[in-house]
């Protein structure tokens, strides 16, 4: 089916998320929508899917204008979507998820689960998926969950399929498999819209590329364009794709983790017998697909995981079993994975957020009273130093863009005297300019002789920053390899293959 968007405009208050966007997707074409986080790609697709209503513009399928009141209408018209955050119900089985919304019933209103199972098996067989219709979705690895999303869309006979940032949660190998699936869908005549900000993937699979920036289409590109051309188009200026750093000059081992287990509320070892050390003046990147224990590992270092075995020590002092405050006072700086939930208080001002970790001590508090003068001076200085783009230091942190929020977190964490710096997904969801800034600051921190841990699921980031790379899979460290290890080796390690590192 041919999809055409004409002059779509979508506003949120004063913000124009989509500004007169025109897009044509031919049948059997993989059309890439390339743009930075916040460029308006997902908004556009949510308009197409009926989740949002556009203020202006038309959606046309095979040249006839459509009116979608909700996703139900869009699906009936043949549009399917694989969402970035899977729209699956974790406590339902695969079959239940697939049938939801268009259930078949038998006598007595009883759900016809057999029909749904058969449908799942049939589509699985067509694409060579190995999906058990009776498995609970919450128990499946994310790669398989994504296939359930694809099955869900196909079971409704979608002829236009939208993939919204589908590779964010996948290993490199799973990404390759997804590309194969997309090509197969294309050969069956499905039109595919592929939303991403990853240049490599775009060039590999796209037939046509449309670049979106700040809610507007800024141009088309051919899949043969180079990375730097695409990046320049996407960001609007020339960007450095590599991080400049001198070779590391590692000092003594500073953070030593030995036989660390982290046990979750269900008694499962989410981190299992992990040992490593980080030296002064080096960056250890922890690579791995989301959900393989990285989050819990960093939280254990900070002391917010209640049940741990083994030991974590910093310069000879034991950290685990200590209160978070003692850990912070020992000189640990921590950038949490989810800045809006764990890194900031959205309703507080920038200045207030900058003093959160020192709310009980000089210079910001004296005799139980806030020292507003000291705080304001400090905040003004940090706002300049970290290039936080906001009206003033009294702007609420929740109103800042992702990149500026992250700069606030960084400013807070880096303005103490650090003995260890831990950053979890430091550049997730932020613009390229901010990414450059964050990377630069991290390298500077390293060069100042601080041991740095970076957790990242983006291989690009890992390779750009790391002096050494530890790959985690299912709670364990598969191996620790030098920073210049080839990507395909890292990819295999992320899928749990041991022995490739040797």
């Amino acid at each position: 089916m041919k999809l055409e968007l004409r002059g779509i405009t979508k506003r949120f208050g004063s913000l124009v998320a989509n500004d007169h966007i025109d897009l044509v997707v031919e049948p059997g074409e993989i059309h890439c929508l390339l743009g930075e986080n916040g460029a308006g790609k997902s908004t556009l697709m949510n308009v197409l899917y009926g989740l949002y209503q556009a203020e202006e513009g038309d959606i046309l399928l095979d040249d006839s204008v459509q009116h979608f009141e909700g996703p139900g209408d869009a699906m009936r018209a043949g549009i399917g979507m694989v969402h970035q955050h899977f729209m699956l119900i974790p406590v339902f089985t695969v079959a239940e998820n697939v049938m939801l919304g268009h259930e078949e019933t038998k006598a007595g209103g009883r759900l016809n689960l057999d029909a749904a199972r058969a449908r799942v098996r049939e589509i699985s067989a067509r694409f060579g998926f190995d999906v058990d219709p009776d498995a609970l979705v919450g128990d499946l690895p994310v790669g398989i969950q994504q296939r359930v999303e694809i099955i869900k869309a196909l079971s409704r006979d979608a002829s236009v399929l939208v993939f919204d940032e589908p590779t964010a949660v996948l290993t490199p190998q799973e990404t390759d498999e997804l590309m194969t699936i997309m090509r197969q869908l294309k050969s069956e005549g499905t039109s595919i819209v592929f939303i991403t900000h990853k240049l490599r993937e775009v060039r590999e699979v796209a037939d046509r590329i449309t670049v979106v920036r700040l809610g507007k289409i800024v141009g088309e590109a051919s899949p043969t364009a180079s990375n730097s051309e695409l990046a320049a188009l996407m960001v609007g200026r020339n960007v450095e794709l590599t991080v400049h750093k001198e070779p590391a000059r590692p000092g003594a081992a500073s953070l030593v983790v030995e036989h660390l287990d982290v046990i979750d509320a269900n008694g499962i070892k989410v981190v299992n017998d992990v040992s490593f050390e980080v030296h002064e003046g080096e960056i250890l990147a922890i690579a791995g697909v989301q959900g393989n224990g990285q989050t819990e590992l960093t939280e254990a270092i900070l002391g917010i995981q209640p049940r741990t075995n083994g030991s974590i020590s910093l310069n000879g002092t034991r950290l685990n079993g200590q209160s978070v405050k003692k850990v912070l006072n020992a000189g640990v700086g921590f950038v949490p994975e989810d800045r809006t939930h764990d890194g900031l208080v959205g309703e507080f001002t920038i200045a207030e957020n900058l003093m959160l970790d020192r709310s009980d001590q000089q210079p910001f508090v004296k005799g139980g009273t806030l020292q507003l003068k000291a705080l304001n001076d400090f905040a003004e200085e940090k706002k300049r130093e970290f290039d936080i783009r906001a009206e003033s230091i009294t702007t609420h942190a929740g109103r800042l863009s992702g990149g500026n929020q992250q700069k606030v977190v960084l400013a807070r964490e880096l303005s103490r005297e650090l003995k260890l710096f831990v950053a979890s997904q430091p550049t997730r969801g932020i613009d390229v300019g901010s990414i450059e800034f964050v990377h630069k600051r991290m390298v500077e921190t390293r060069d100042a002789g601080v041991p740095v841990i970076v957790v990242s699921t983006e291989l690009d980031e890992v390779v750009a920053l790391a002096d050494r790379i530890a790959v985690m899979y299912r709670g364990s460290i598969v191996g620790i390899v030098p920073g210049d290890t080839p990507r395909d080796v890292l990819g295999l390690m992320m899928a749990g293959e041991t022995g490739v590192a040797a």
Partner: protein, 432 residues
Amino acid sequence: MSVTTPNTPHETVDPVDDGLEKAVVKKWKAPIAFAIFVIISALLFFVARRDGVTELRLSAENDAIKLPSIEAPVMATGIVVVILLALMTAGAFWLANQAKRIPLWLTAVFGIVFMYGFLTWAGADKSIPITGLLLGSVALSAPLIFGALGGVISERVGVVNVAIEGQLLAGAFLSAFVASITRNPFAGLLAAIVAGVLVSFVLAAFAIKYLVDQVIVGVVLNVLVAGLTSFLYSTVLSSNTEAFNTPPRLPRIPIPLLSDIPILGRVLFDQTIIIYLMYIAIALVFYGLFFTKWGLRLRAVGEHPQAADTVGIRVNSTRFWNVSIAGAIAGLGGAYFTLGSVGGFTKEMTAGAGFIALAAVIFGRWDPIRATLAALLFGFATNLQNTLGAIGSGVPSEFLLMLPYLVTIFAVAGLVGQVRGPAASGKPYIKS
């Protein structure tokens, strides 16, 4: 305590092994609770010692099939009970040390043995009517069960229903009033349903449309209904009790054959239509929730409303109508107070039953069958207090009054532990 997510009934297995190693975690809560009960029974039998023989009557005068009574000598029974309980406790400790789960049947047997011992002790030299005890339990459980079913539906669809109390009270009031003026108890039943739905409408409108915190709306509604019914009771109902507050009672309808089964026959099958409606409601809610399109969509909305929205389910209207259904069921439970048992409305006559029903929802892990069993347990505890008071067992009445609430606290805090309710329960769905 193990944690299983409430889901379809065939899913009671452990969280599926996804290959990650499980840490050996020993859980001592259950065996320690067992040990406390052993100590309590030992104290009762050997310190607060009582002698004599207790008669446990299994049949009433007019039963078709008569069973002989059990004559239990208190001391001998005490020794046997304490030994049995101690053995089971030892078993529980052994299981816990092996990091195994205490099977439910063990807890059930433990509870029954303890209860047998307690009854024997409490009824020393007296005669305890077992049939009456159970009959009363069902009676007292009925509003709790209706309330809990309403709670299960409402929470499963994503709206926390603290207003069960208000729905019960409104149902009780309106059914008494309507049944009195129409002289027709069935009109009263209908009125109870309407009352429950009306309370639900307010809850749903504020919680879903205006996004007010659901717990706060619920609490305020309870206070509102209590105030409103009390006011109308003093002004309207009391002005002419004869005309406005003497509802005809529903007749008992014995089911042939079934009602002749010893002990349980009279308890379960010689009841008013409300109880039979209750059986139907339990079955329908269970079947509907887990085996029909209605239930699948309802649960989807309560777990992940956005996912439901993306497959074309209208989240807020699903919530609205199901909260209304929940109100209808809870309202029907209210009718039991006036048409099924007491026969007339009095101020705040529900006396916290709605909150116990809420506890039953959680204790029953948002599952209609388990919630029903939990409600039965609470009903039994309440009636035990009544029965022991009536036979004059000499156990301090203050202690007995405490009993149902003690059971509630222990059940919810101790036995349930950490459970996971519907993921989106209590969270309004705001579509951007």
